[in-house]
Symmetry: C2
Subunit: 432 residues, 2 copies
């Protein structure tokens, strides 16, 4: 970037919507990112920061002066504010909090106190409330005076004198109601409220199931404390669905595609370390059959086929069960049936692929007995794969381990060990 | 289920919200599903069908009489109607269409003509439009007369005499505006409209980026033809994110967790067949080194370690790039930089894990030379894995192949072949 271009870029950036600036930052490597950031107008900081993913945002915040950061944070809605603060290292977020003015600090500390990933964490506090005894006419006059209604408001909530939630009125209802009607006649009383300590994933599945655009949030005494809007829930839904895919490859959900090489290498090394242990374990099993392998080199050549097929089949079952659990389709009551089903599929898969591989090997290596051995190993491993793929996520969930993160490693270890044992064991017994 | 229980279940079902009935059906195996379906009131059919996934819905529809199906379809919103019809086999959907009444059939055929996965396919046609010269007061009186506003309406669209979209007015704006103000003073003119033939994934990323709750849909002449609401987009966002995970395990997105065993076995067999070919290809590479393997059984034992590590590292890169492309972060301009980055990570990974595995093997097998051979193979394969993981999705996208579906198979084939070649080839050269 030369000086003439800088002016142009600065101009372009100031007219772009904040979400597009955020996308540009996300798609740049880290050096370009800092350069672009310096060209953004300070009054855009808060909107752009809101739209960034955690890794990228923290990288930028680390280069900001606490006072400027505090200014940007004060301009944010409560939900974005706490999300940003909670992703920061303790020291940085404390610095930022203490640079903020009294009122905003209290607002942030209150929301932070609900605990991460709860409804209280993702809610906004700019809710418009109505009283049951007021008429539509009065409300319309009040709203005209007030002049603006917070973004994403599709429903007004009705509270009594103790701030307890007693009903709700859709915005569109106010447009069609006669002016003299009282709110208590208009309101729906059986609307569902979200408890402030509900987990965000549960909130997201409620939104998805009931097609909500927003929902009221209440504390233990049923007092209205805020509202959650669909735009925040959309992020949770997408992140939830992505989480499984990223975890199954040993990646962090928030992993920044354009992070520096060293940082990415470090982040991914844990997973590769675990994989090395798995591979060494498989090698150790083969090692037990060294005598057999040294007599029949053909076994060494075919040794990977059975574990590989078991891994692929088991992984299909695992993925399906993990998704079923995420969608709420798989629970205690039907888990047993599902395990039975996957066991049956494993059996059928075993029969099909055993016959196929036996024919291929018998022809390729001109050895019917060898074909029989690999067929038997395939059968055993396919059944093991189906069983492991279905049982692992159910068991892990009971033990509070994330099946998406650890499931595939454990599954592969099982299908490797069972596959090698079955193949080399049977071969030792029958072919020597 | 005995007779007494049937009455109870029927009662329970009739008071449950349709989305909960749908969840119950999704979580049941196919026999229970038909039993439950028979207990649902016919006037709930359309709402329940809407909320089911394609596989489950088609299973139920196959058991319905065309006339009853047509009745249920007629009660649906346009977007749900076309989604249901397009998922059905041609013969069944033709039967259903011809049993529907004239008006609904036309509505369905019009929407179906836009082509699957387009904005026209997911839009609704129940849009309320305003004229620019009308005052707020007149609109309020009109709405009170009309009595109800379609679900999910957060914005009214302003059209001129030729039905061309010229602006939009948020519902909340009507509440705060003075009665005498004209629509043309209130409306935003630069609101973005979705072309009717835009792909649904593009629509979804616009919604996500700009936090829209709804968007107007226009034809080529900029005439308003409908609107898309966030509840339909939420499904697309979730399915899009899930699609990659399911495809990477060779599963269909709509795969029903509780389908009968035979059906599931059939659906998954293509993937396992492809995997068998991959495994046989790896075996064929090992086969070229049969002489080496028969002289040194230790090579057979260690032969799986290098391919396995390459597969794990390559899969991390592949997953990250596929997600980056789905989020719109990775495109032509930064793809080259990203490939360079992943190559560098592959190099560093190679160095780290080569040193580690060399030490382990040198100690385990008391053979420094063997450690050196496996270290070299690891280096080569890690670099290949990084390169393949980053380049494959970029290349496949250019060739219009879905990288999530085919990427991981091709990647594994590459890391298997390169890994075995590097390991056994170097061993043949140096150790014999």
């Amino acid at each position: 970037l030369n000086d003439g271009m800088i002016v142009q870029v600065r101009e372009r950036l100031s007219t772009m919507p904040p979400c597009d600036v955020a996308l540009l930052l996300e798609s740049s490597r880290s050096r370009t990112r800092s350069e672009i950031w310096q060209l953004i107008e300070p009054d855009q900081y808060s909107d752009v920061l809101e739209d960034l993913s955690e890794d990228v945002r923290n990288g930028i915040i680390r280069q900001m002066v606490p006072e400027i950061l505090a200014d940007a944070l004060e301009d944010m809605d409560t939900d974005d504010l706490v999300e940003t603060l909670s992703g920061l290292p303790e020291a940085v977020s404390q610095d930022a909090l203490s640079s903020m003015d009294e009122q905003d600090r209290q607002r942030a500390e209150q929301a932070l106190s609900y605990g991460e990933d709860t409804a209280g964490f993702i809610m906004n506090t700019d809710t418009i409330t109505l009283r049951p005894e007021v008429t539509v006419d009065v409300i319309l006059r009040y709203l005209r005076l007030k002049g603006n209604i917070p973004k994403g408001t599709d429903t007004f909530y009705v509270v009594n004198r103790s701030d307890e939630l007693i009903g709700s009125v859709p915005v569109t209802e106010l447009l069609t109601a006669r002016p003299a009607v009282k709110v208590e006649k208009l309101m729906t009383q059986d609307s569902v409220a979200v408890p402030v300590d509900m987990h965000e994933n549960e909130v997201a599945s409620l939104f998805e199931r009931y097609d909500w655009l927003s929902a009221p949030v209440v504390d233990k005494e049923n007092r209205l404390v805020g509202r959650i809007t669909i735009d925040d829930v959309v992020d949770i839904i997408r992140e939830g669905a992505e989480h499984s895919m990223m975890s199954m490859a040993g990646l962090d959900d928030e992993e920044d595609t354009f992070a520096p090489v060293i940082k990415s290498t470090k982040k991914r090394s844990v997973w590769l370390g675990v994989n090395l242990l798995t591979a060494l374990m498989a090698a150790a099993v083969s090692d037990m059959f060294e005598a057999t392998l040294s007599q029949l080199a053909v076994l060494a050549i075919l040794n990977t086929i059975v574990p590989s097929m078991g891994g692929a089949a088991g992984n299909q079952t695992l993925t399906l069960v993990i998704r079923g659990m995420a969608l709420g389709h798989v629970s205690g009551s039907n888990a047993r049936w599902l395990i039975g089903k996957e066991l049956a599929i494993g059996f059928f898969n075993g029969v099909i692929w055993a016959v196929l591989i036996a024919s291929v090997i018998a022809m390729w290596k001109q050895d019917v007995m060898l074909g029989g051995v690999i067929a038997f190993a395939m059968m055993v491993n396919m059944v093991a794969a189906g069983l492991a793929g279905a049982m692992l996520p159910v068991l892990m969930k009971k033990m509070n381990i994330d099946p998406a993160l650890a499931g595939s490693v454990i599954l592969t270890t099982i299908t490797d060990v069972v596959g090698i044992f079955a193949f080399l064991g049977t071969a030792t017994w029958l072919l020597l």
